[in-house]
Symmetry: C2
Subunit: 420 residues, 2 copies
């Protein structure tokens, strides 16, 4: 079995290394590279430091089949990627007349003078191939350091992502060592603790296992990866697929998707496919559930309105929750969750209504209703279901995220029942 | 001027290097280290690979005053941090009897058998100091590699963050080289393009400037950092403060905070301090604005309810928007934005109401109403203001984020006017 081609990723920017912003490019690159059968050995975030970037490139190139750099291609003095790459390759920078002319033409259309600093963006290491950037003024470039392909892409994700597909992926395909095969499959689970999953998977999660199963928990969703190695890509694909099928059977009560990590998108797809109108009634989540559902493009075909009823009075006035019910059981109760769902369904004229009422914290807890206690309600064609959850009190934001995930899952199970 | 102490950060985990999850620990560490006067030179994400982590530690230690590792302290076989640190230091692993007894006691309280794999969590490099983890089963540790302080902390942020404060910060303070001074200040701006800011700052953004100004744009908010170096921390503090004051004066029309990056928290604070009841009427943002406001702990004192009126019919039925107005001007118009804000204020009995109606895309655009066109409305004590925005059509999620930022700003300007 030959090894998979290896890549290292470098993200540059003082704002990244200083923690002001999170580098999302490396994650997107690593996921796409894995799909192409590449293994990412490390992601390195550096400040805008030409010496350090030069040294890092020199060090990584001999041990990798490719190094991808994002950022540092702008027009200003702290954009040092092209200089560092040229130094690492031992070549000069050369002005690309065609790129310069294009940049000047771009500024002319906008009727703005061409700033001399932008001329910097037409400089490339001698011998490098220019990678077009249709979304911005910073072209990328590709060159080789020994046997290593070095590609530099701009930092803004909306510029980087199209270039990843158009420029990087084809070059990686041409550059990969022969007859190595790596393939990956995913499964997305809800409602299962990570530890329980890991226990049942056992040896398949050991580093040397093939296929190798990995799992990460986030907002009570488990993202499971199955990575297989074989002598060729098709063999690796078949191996990964077989093992993913087996896991899907074993954990069928929890698997909500094999291609879409976002539970809201999965529910949205089902609602749209069957033209089922949906609405929400939210207390502690304050609109987050509706915001998630309306992230789904085209959802307006089934989503007309939603209700954020934070205070008791709002629950009564907007959704007709009986004040006596609130007085007797409290707002965080099965009875009120049911009344909220039924009230929202009626008021919106929707077949499906989801409700959330809980104690997100930090305040609001009582002896018998701790922070993290959430009641969920679902009304579907008049049939009401409620569920109680006791989430770990890991802070207001997380309790709200957990509650939204659980409500989306409750909704999805109305449409795609899973045995429990 | 002496140099600032230098730190390198390592985050471990196959799920991080593979792009399944984003490493947020390194950013949190880098921000806190900067406050303590430390400079972070790089953040490295590695898979669960003992050899690579060992080699990386050996390489980083001589060039840094501290290396902080997060992750890899769990009980399973892919948790390799303690083994790698011991190898890099050239020492054996030793079982800590007190930690083992504590772990066993913890499992006993939960009336669960003690899994042998958890014994691994009582192993530490010989000579290392154990760092208590009150939030989980994985203690951290600290040791020195030559003159370099190496601290290992658990990966889950809710465990890592308290240990950062309680264990890491005091050790960094003791470990810092004498008489070096680095200080940082922040400013948060809204409504100003990054390029305009950068042009006006000029030389202060050059890498060698002191103070050095950095800027990053996200969701139409600019996070500006001012970093100063001096012979001592107090001198650096004074220098950073002076320069931040000057920038705050120069950009006073845009500065909404000097301590809180989150515009929703800034608005929430003002509303709570003055007990001003608030509500929202959202079309294209579908609850996102209300969700942001209800992230603010304690907001229930001023937030009772909110309205997601996605469809025209919902705007009329829930908030009394005249169907004739919708027919004449369309839902995305100044008139409807105003009617939504007034209707929401009246219905919720709130002094302040914010409305958003726009074309988030991908569908819904017309010749004169492109994707990215958003009308915002504000009703404050009966006085109505509307604003039109034309955001770059960078995708549905971003247009919605831009719109929420602009609406929060419109609300904040009602309470804290800024000259325009």
């Amino acid at each position: 079995m030959t090894r998979a081609p290896r890549a290292a990723l470098i993200a540059t920017g003082d704002e990244l290394v200083g923690g002001a912003f999170v580098d999302t490019n490396s994650g997107a690159l690593a996921r796409r590279l894995a799909q192409c059968g590449w293994e990412t050995t490390r992601c390195i975030v550096l400040g805008d430091d030409e010496d350090l970037l030069t040294a890092t490139l020199r060090e990584l190139a001999p041990a990798h089949d490719a190094v991808v750099i994002t950022g540092g291609l702008g027009p200003t003095l702290d954009d040092v990627t092209r200089h560092a790459a040229a130094r690492a390759a031992g070549v000069e920078l050369a002005l690309d007349a065609r790129v310069l002319a294009e940049l000047q033409a771009l500024f002319a259309t906008r009727q703005r003078p061409f700033p001399p600093s932008n001329e910097r963006q037409a400089l490339f290491p001698a011998g490098a191939e220019v990678l077009a950037n249709p979304q911005g003024t910073a072209p990328g470039f590709a060159l080789t350091l020994g046997a290593c392909l070095v590609c530099a892409l701009p930092g803004p994700p909306r510029e980087m992502l199209p270039m990843l597909e158009r420029e990087l992926v084809p070059r990686l395909a041409r550059h990969r060592p022969p007859s190595s095969g790596l393939a990956q499959r995913a499964l997305y689970l809800v409602g299962l603790p990570e530890g329980v999953f890991a226990e049942q998977c056992g040896a398949a999660m050991r580093r040397d296992a093939n296929p190798l199963v990995g799992v990460t928990a986030k907002n009570s969703v488990l993202s499971v990866s199955v990575r297989a190695r074989a002598a060729s890509v098709p063999e690796a694909e078949a191996l990964a697929e077989r093992h993913a099928d087996e896991l899907a059977r074993r954990f069928h009560a929890h698997v909500y998707s094999r291609d879409e990590p976002d539970l809201a998108q999965v529910l949205g797809r089902e609602l749209l496919a069957r033209r089922i109108a949906v609405t929400c009634a939210e207390s502690c989540t304050g609109g987050l559930l509706a915001a998630r559902l309306t992230q789904v493009a085209g959802i307006s075909a089934v989503f007309e309105r939603s209700f954020v009823t934070y205070a008791d009075r709002a629950k009564t006035e907007e959704l007709g929750v009986d004040p006596a019910l609130l007085a007797r059981h409290g707002a965080v109760s099965a009875e009120v969750a049911a009344a909220l769902a039924l009230g929202a369904a009626r008021r919106a004229g929707a077949r499906l209504a989801l409700s959330i009422t809980g104690i997100a914290g930090p305040a609001g807890a009582t002896a018998d209703k701790p922070v993290g206690l959430v009641w969920l309600g679902r009304a579907f064609d008049g049939a009401v279901v409620t569920e109680q959850r006791r989430f770990l009190a890991l802070g207001r934001d997380l309790v709200r995220e957990f509650a939204v995930t659980a409500a989306l899952d409750l909704g999805l199970r109305a449409l795609v029942p899973r045995p429990h």
